[in-house]
Symmetry: C2
Subunit: 179 residues, 2 copies
């Protein structure tokens, strides 16, 4: 017997997010990818690209949200539109992205592995559900979908980074590579 | 006797940020404005414009940072460049903006009034100094510069909003107006 239909869909969307993460890795970026889904359809995809864009804030979720805002215009100006949107992302959103998702009004996020360094959905701060103001809906998170695959991509990146480094870098001098 | 030179400069930059906030108010946006300063010169200005851009995440700080990243390209890809940057903003940065500033590497922020609903520099969450990862420098904040003027603009906005509203809106249906 296969997976229930909902689980199968969830896995299908996360596979698409992993494809985006693989594309980040191919570009020598920290590999994180995501897709936004509404009414069962992918409406935007994004991958982490701070180096490519020369903008440290261009995480996968922000890249995809910028596309959504640009393409859907006024529809996205209310939280109602985002209430039906689900985010599938390979790594737990960071503090900035978790806050941006709440401001937009996204209410559901499925992520692969945790982000122990910068995670905003419980790992470092609990921005996703922290009471801020009644007008910001809580972001409900489900974790662990294709977790091992998400971790495998991150490990690949960091092992390549280490292999290419002529000498160890001081942590304080490192380029921002948070996800 | 006048103010010491440093204070005088600080006041001068905050006045420019207030001008930006006034422009948001003129556009019927929640009035928040900012300037980024480096080597004693304004390098970018921004004002809150989620309605104008149809993008709820386009807070004053994000708007100005997007300009900085676009104009200064590779220079801004490291935290070193931002280490010499000071942000003057009329209202305490929200959780998302505080996190974005830390990711960029900005180390100093001067703000006017507190943001009791969404503030990320102590009022709701302490993103500015919260330990996340050693690679993200702490954002040191000074508050209270032209605080009354910042509050006056916010009150003007909310009193106009109330005067124009045909009937009270439910909080859950309100457009995102966080600052």
């Amino acid at each position: 017997m296969g997976l229930p239909q909902e689980k199968e869909q969830e896995h299908g969307f996360m596979k698409l997010a992993l494809e985006q993460a693989q594309m980040s890795l191919d570009d020598a970026e920290v590999p994180v990818g995501c897709v936004f889904v509404r009414d069962g359809k992918v409406i935007a995809a994004g991958r982490n690209q701070p180096n490519r864009t020369h903008n440290a804030t261009k995480h996968a979720e922000i890249v995809a949200m910028d596309k959504l805002y640009a393409e859907h215009g006024v529809d996205t100006a209310t939280q109602r539109w985002f209430a039906d949107v689900v985010l599938y992302v390979t790594v737990e959103p960071c503090v900035m992205c978790a806050a941006a998702l709440r401001i937009a009004g996204v209410r559901r996020c499925v992520f692969g592995c945790r982000n122990d360094r910068f995670g905003g959905c419980g790992s470092v701060l609990n921005v996703s559900s922290q009471q801020q103001d009644g007008s910001l809906p809580v972001l409900e998170c489900t974790e662990g979908v294709y977790k091992d695959e998400a971790v495998r991509l991150l490990r690949l990146f960091y092992s390549q980074e280490n292999a290419n480094a002529p000498r160890p870098k001081k942590k304080s001098n490192r380029k921002v590579q948070c996800t």
